[in-house]
């Protein structure tokens, strides 16, 4: 659509400088290699296809998380969110999961969502860890504010990272935030954050050139795991 840049300058939130996330590669339990990398606004239409099926899955609050990620991606594409970043995990080019967050201020991060599209391989754990790594090590922030929208998320993030409870309302609905500090991050890093850099060029080429998504049916079956009689 035609964009009125004069008006856009009013509508778009101002941004702080934001360091990029250096890509990494993780060997998964099934031996496959998952490239974790930062994507650009141009990738959003393709990513939306992999989020769309989750809007209709109520298991494990996938619909809540999926719908919000869907909206956040579009808002980011059209410059309506301040300092958002989006990381994806890709196996053979195929999107296995998406995480995003943003800079609330140069020193305080706001974790948004973790959406695992492939399940049973700890994709969510790896991608959430990459997000924390980005905030603390590359965006050089002091703390990240986090809430969980599902019991699995609560167990995984709040308890595994030993996050500190706060009374700060999180921008995802106002629940009190939990806080990851630099100290907590580095205390847990060795058991929660893995990955190799640099990513071999051949893997990186596949990830960048073939950002592919599974079919809606495949994604819904994978997540909902529906079994016949």
């Amino acid at each position: 659509m035609a964009v009125d840049m004069e008006l856009e300058s009013v509508l778009r939130p101002p941004e702080f400088p934001q360091a990029p996330y250096p890509p990494k590669v993780i060997t998964l339990a099934n031996g496959k290699r998952m490239v974790v990398r930062e994507v650009t606004r141009a990738d959003v239409p393709q990513l939306l296809k992999s989020v769309h099926p989750t809007l209709f899955i109520d298991r494990d609050y996938y619909n809540v998380v999926g719908a919000r990620v869907y909206a956040e991606l579009i808002a980011w594409q059209y410059y309506r969110v301040q300092n958002e970043y989006v990381l994806v995990g890709q196996v053979d080019g195929l999107v296995a999961g998406i995480v995003n967050g943003r800079l609330y201020s140069p020193k305080v991060g706001m974790s948004l969502h973790t959406l695992a599209i492939d399940r049973g391989l700890r994709i969510g754990a790896h991608l959430f860890a990459a997000k924390m790594e980005h905030h603390i090590e590359y965006l050089n922030q002091d703390e990240v504010l986090i809430v969980a929208e599902s019991p699995i998320g609560f167990r995984r993030w709040m308890i595994e990272y030993g996050l500190e409870p706060t009374t700060i309302p999180h921008e995802l609905g106002g629940a009190p935030s939990y806080k990851l500090t630099r100290e907590l991050y580095f205390k847990s890093k060795s058991r929660l954050v893995v990955g190799d850099r640099p990513v071999p060029q051949d893997l990186m080429d596949v990830a960048q050139q073939d950002l592919t998504v599974a079919t809606e049916k495949a994604i819904r079956e994978k997540i909902a795991g529906l079994k016949g009689r």
Binding site: T27, G31, A129, V194, G195
Partner: protein, 397 residues
């Protein structure tokens, strides 16, 4: 006592079955077993249902009465059998006794559990209710925790290694990936869960020294079978009858701490001995086995306690490939609890169903143990405090 045959079997795919109630699952598996036997509209004399948690997880009781009604098998006798994770094995055993005694002729046995109805930590708490309510449960002990304490001692005493456990997990998930009834359909690699530095996240400790991939998943599922006197089998079914050649059941102390040697799974040894005596067979006569690998360590320990291998040799046998399909004694060709899944009340029935398929030579080539004649199951309740073992034999017609 009459010889008892399994004449029909059925199972539904294990996994997470949000769309089904516990009764749905039990009913689907039961109808499959009745139809497999070819009973048509004939009734059964009795129904036994193995289930551990309906009262806790579904807030439902008297499930056998509900099932017999749903299946239109009234006025057959019906009861539920609760014996922890050996509920399924116990239900089969009671069915066998009922037919063997001459009191009933045709008996349906079903086992089922719906565990994914609750969150993982509610399910963990549910399973932990089988521990001692005063001297174990309050501390937060879990069944994986019991297995962890056992594993540590087994490693120290017998030289069991993590590598051996990893091989069990890989073997069983590989077989599970081929089994349409298995919960876990994903293959794993040694690099991914053990060798790579990234395995600290892929396969974190769960109950040290056991890791995530040492444990079975929490599953929904059901299985069922039909029993009758062997002498009536040919009249009732076209299937190759499978004889329940022997069974054994034994118990051990409720708490691990009161066992003189906690690495000695006495109930497994005794249950297997009874079964072998009844069947007039020896461990070397068995061609295929389904062991209760709720944790990888248990497949190895049970393979030693039933007499397939000497103590301390079971892990080496795994590394040498002896327990793989194509090896000397294939164990858990179904994927075992590790991959097929462990809906607790269903497991003991499902193990017998899988062995029946093996002995009827009905499985596809990539899962069939060639020319298998005799099979064994171990259904392990509590932490080894109540164990049911079956030996089944193909009856050539």
């Amino acid at each position: 006592m009459r010889d008892v045959a399994v004449i029909g079997v059925g199972m539904i795919p294990f996994g997470r079955r949000d769309q089904d109630t516990l009764m749905d699952m039990l009913a689907y598996a039961s109808m499959k077993a009745l139809d497999d036997a070819g009973l048509g509209d004939k009734g059964v004399d009795a129904l036994y249902v193995g289930n551990m948690g309906a009262g806790i997880l579904q807030h439902q009781s008297s499930i056998a009465s509900a099932l017999v009604d749903r299946l239109s098998l009234l006025p057959a006798a019906a009861e539920a059998i609760e014996n922890g994770p050996a509920s399924g094995g116990s239900a089969v055993k009671n069915g066998v006794l009922a037919v063997a005694s001459g009191y009933y002729d045709v008996v349906l046995v079903a086992g089922g559990e719906k565990m994914r109805e609750v969150t993982g930590w509610r399910a963990t708490d549910f399973v932990a209710t089988m521990t001692h309510p005063e001297v174990e449960y309050p501390y937060g002990i879990t069944l994986p925790g019991m297995a962890g304490m056992f594993t540590r001692l087994y490693m120290e005493k017998y030289g069991l290694t993590r590598e051996m456990l990893v091989e069990v997990a890989i073997k069983n998930q590989k077989m599970g990936a081929l089994n349409p009834y298995a919960h876990v359909e994903m293959m794993i690699t040694k690099e991914g869960i053990y060798e790579s530095p990234h395995s600290v996240v892929n396969n974190p400790p769960a109950a040290d020294p056991l890791h995530l991939y040492d444990a079975c998943p929490v599953s929904d599922g059901a299985a069922a079978l039909v029993l009758c006197p062997l002498e009536m089998a040919a009249k009732l079914t076209k299937n190759v009858p499978v004889l329940v050649a022997g069974f054994g059941q034994a118990t051990d102390t409720h708490t691990l701490q009161e066992r003189d040697d906690p690495t000695d799974l006495k109930a497994v040894t005794l249950a297997a001995q009874q079964a072998f005596e009844r069947a007039k067979l020896k461990p070397e006569d068995i061609h295929v086995a389904e062991l209760h690998d709720a944790f990888t360590v248990l497949e190895i320990a049970e393979s030693e306690h039933v007499g397939f291998f000497k103590k301390g040799e079971g892990g080496k046998a795994v590394l040498a490939g002896k327990t793989r399909l194509g090896g000397k004694l294939p164990i858990n060709v179904s994927g075992g609890l590790k991959a097929r899944g462990h809906p607790v009340g269903a497991t003991g029935v499902a193990q017998v169903v899988d062995i029946v398929w093996q002995l009827r030579h009905e499985l596809p080539e990539d899962r069939q143990v060639k020319n298998a004649q005799n099979g064994l199951t171990v259904n392990f309740g509590g932490f080894g405090n109540n164990v049911v073992c079956f030996i089944l034999r193909r009856v050539e017609q």
